[in-house]
Amino acid sequence: MSDTPSAARPQPGMAAGALARVAVLPVDLALRLLDPPMRWLQRVIGVRRMPYVFLLPNFAFFGLFVFLPIGINIVFSVTGGSALFPSERPYVGANQFAYLFDCGSFLDPASCREDHFWRGVANTAKFVVFQVTAMVLFSLITALVLNMKIRGRGFFRAVYFFPVLLSPVVVALIWKWILQRDGLLNAAITTLGGQKILFFVDPSWAMFWAVFVSVWAHMGFYTLILLAGLQAIPADLYEAAEMDATPRWRVLTRITLPLLWPNMIVVIVLALIKGAQTFDEVFVLTGGGPGTATLMVVQYIYETGFASQVQNFGLAAAASVVLGLVLFVLTLLQFAAARRKEI
């Protein structure tokens, strides 16, 4: 035992503690300043109403940046012309919606007056179906593998999550360099004696790569949700199955998948919403082409509202309202799924 009294020894946490005290000084100061007016307010409105005071800043922020733009968008959707300010735009009622929905057959975009919108709808629907299916499937497989006791598990978890951190534009540019005429993939194909493939000229290839790149970029996020679900499954269920010598396939279909189902629902609904909103990655990767083979609804909205000489804000806003309603339904589905999970 040492003779030195413990109080005299240099304490490793002392410096950190001092630093923390300095760091909280401004917070402490702000709280002291806020204390008297808050006490006064509590006396005036009563304790029961105080939670609303704390919620108010968030509501104001949300209202200003979410509800107000939604309101402005709805106002634009019932006006026409090319003026920017709503007060200068003529009221046209539901004309923009009528123009959008003026179709011979909704299954044939070419029969629609605004065929680009319906081509965008058809492409987005196709994209969502393929992307969500592939996303759920590959995220599930990846999560199942990463949940196993394999060597370098932490490293692989990081690797699969890494693309999620990249900006969609960066993701698209990386893949564009790989896939273009003189890109890495064609260099590999020609080295192996094959012919160059013009991926962005063929509609099927363009859609395939749009889906592939999207799955590659976002899979890590959904894998993480499923991994969390897998880790929440009680281990004793697997132990019991092992004691009963249950085959692996049966364990997967009778224990893992049913218990993972609530997480799967969340993944499906989130991927659906994200898929319906797709724009930046596909726009940078394929430009919506060839022709309009990968033109998505959001790209249509952007081009109608901003890229044409007559910036048709009214029509773009009407298309946004339609897309917003679809997303609203999908969000309700997500809420329902989340509630079911809680139950």
Binding site: S82, L84, F200, T286, G291, T292, A293, S308, Q309
Partner: protein, 430 residues
């Protein structure tokens, strides 16, 4: 708390002293914002000229915002409509932005100088019905025209078609060259409605009907559209430019031309500076006169204009800056260093020396200057038409669909007519 007090006090004192001592001096300086896009080195040249202007006019500070070409076309109109735009901008869609134009006449030193030197081009910038306003000047006059990789022709042992050769002659020759030297792009045309009209005007399109309103799809137009469609089918043009993106997206073949993958590239005079710089001695390239058709050999004119906007808070200072930049010696230097054909009648008459131009660039400038003299009045009218970009965008969007195989050419032409009518109606809605 005691530690905080001196800091706050010193901050307050600094602010007070800045207001007292720095205030009047700062108030005397006017800051102007200029939005600028570049094709070549002209941004550097403009920055240099602005620096010189500031040395002579200490009370005016000009902030040069160098932005992408796309931003000038898409973001600038919204900025201007909201009253948040720059004071001056270099633009190409002069007709579309004319409603925001500032008539600088009351503030200019000598409006007569502007009228006599920029007269024909001022019409492009004036709002509909206005025949007097002076909103800006052309930073350069451009003409569309083809660049040819001469080395590829020599390697293939194919003779280059002569001066009055037709589009069909050129298409046949460049395909032969490309087949022999394995070049992936026999003929590349910018994915732009403006460039398409270099072909369409030479095929005899009239663009406007008897009533002066657009009548886009006529016989000349159909001939041009059929040529583009057939060239994509026969491999004269690769689908990578016109067929690989959607809507109104612009696609050029600059990089492909620089990499010797293109035999003939229909673009325009604005490419000279960057080709001279990037190709250097890698291969021989030449500009050739616009190919001919039943409607003649006219190119499409165009160019960038420096326009002042009425949302500016400093019209006098804007006019002082514009007077300086539009003055003959300054504009001559700007064009000489940027390798631009001047949109200034006096300079065009005198001619400009391009001391920094390589032999290839000097020869190209000569060809484009000669082409500018042959531009048809119809081509000038089309370029100056207020709804020209509506037509150009509809054409490129719909022909792109036909080229990619998504629609027939006939359907594309019907859609072009409908799109143009719908957009003009939307613009006219009050």
């Amino acid at each position: 708390m005691r530690a905080v007090t001196p800091v706050i006090t010193s901050l307050a004192l600094s602010l007070l002293s800045a207001t007292v001592f720095g205030g009047p001096a700062a108030a005397e300086t006017t800051t102007l914002r200029m939005a600028w896009y570049s094709d070549g080195n002209e941004g550097e040249v403009m920055a240099d000229l602005l620096k010189r202007f500031h040395e002579q006019n200490k009370d005016i500070d000009v902030v040069l915002d160098q932005v992408p070409y796309k931003a000038v076309n898409e973001n600038l109109p919204v900025q201007l409509a909201s009253g948040q735009g720059p004071d001056i901008a270099r633009v190409v869609d002069m007709g579309g932005l004319s409603r925001f134009a500032l008539d600088m006449r009351p503030f200019l030193k000598d409006p007569g100088y502007w009228e006599s030197n920029f007269g024909p081009f001022l019409e492009w910038m004036r709002p509909a019905g206005d025949t007097q306003a002076i909103p800006g000047f052309m930073t350069q006059l451009t003409v569309t025209g083809p660049f040819v990789n001469k080395t590829l022709f020599e390697q293939a042992g194919v003779a280059m078609p002569g001066e009055k050769a037709t589009w069909e002659d050129w298409a046949k020759a460049v395909k032969e060259v490309a087949d022999k030297v394995q070049a992936p792009f026999p003929l590349a045309v910018d994915r732009s409605g403006h460039r398409f009209y270099a072909l369409a005007v030479s095929q005899g399109t009239k663009i406007f009907g008897a009533n002066g309103e657009p009548d886009v799809v006529d016989e000349g137009f159909k001939r041009a559209a059929q040529l583009v469609y057939d060239w994509h089918k026969s491999g004269v043009m690769s689908k990578e430019l016109w067929g690989s993106v959607s809507g109104t997206a612009y696609r050029g073949a600059n990089d492909e031309f620089k990499n010797a993958q293109v035999v003939m590239y229909l673009s325009g005079s604005w490419q000279i500076a960057q080709f001279a710089k990037t190709i250097d001695n890698a291969f021989d390239w030449v500009a050739v006169p616009n190919p001919c058709g039943p409607g003649g050999c006219s190119s499409m004119p165009g160019g960038g204009a420096l326009m002042a906007f009425k949302t500016t808070q400093h019209p006098k200072e804007v006019a002082r800056l514009m007077d300086y930049l539009a003055s003959e010696p300054v504009l001559a230097e700007f064009c000489a260093r940027s390798l631009f054909v001047p949109g200034h009648l006096g300079l065009a008459k005198k001619g400009i020396d391009y001391p920094t131009a390589s032999p290839d660039a000097a020869a190209a400038l000569k060809v484009f200057t000669a082409s500018a003299a042959q531009v048809s009045p119809l081509a000038y009218r089309a370029q100056g038409y207020i709804n020209s970009r509506i037509i150009f965008n509809a054409v490129i969007s719909r022909l792109g669909q036909a080229v990619s195989g998504e629609t027939t050419l006939d359907d594309a032409e019907k859609r072009i007519t409908a799109d143009v009518a719908q957009q003009i109606a939307e613009r006219n809605k009050k």
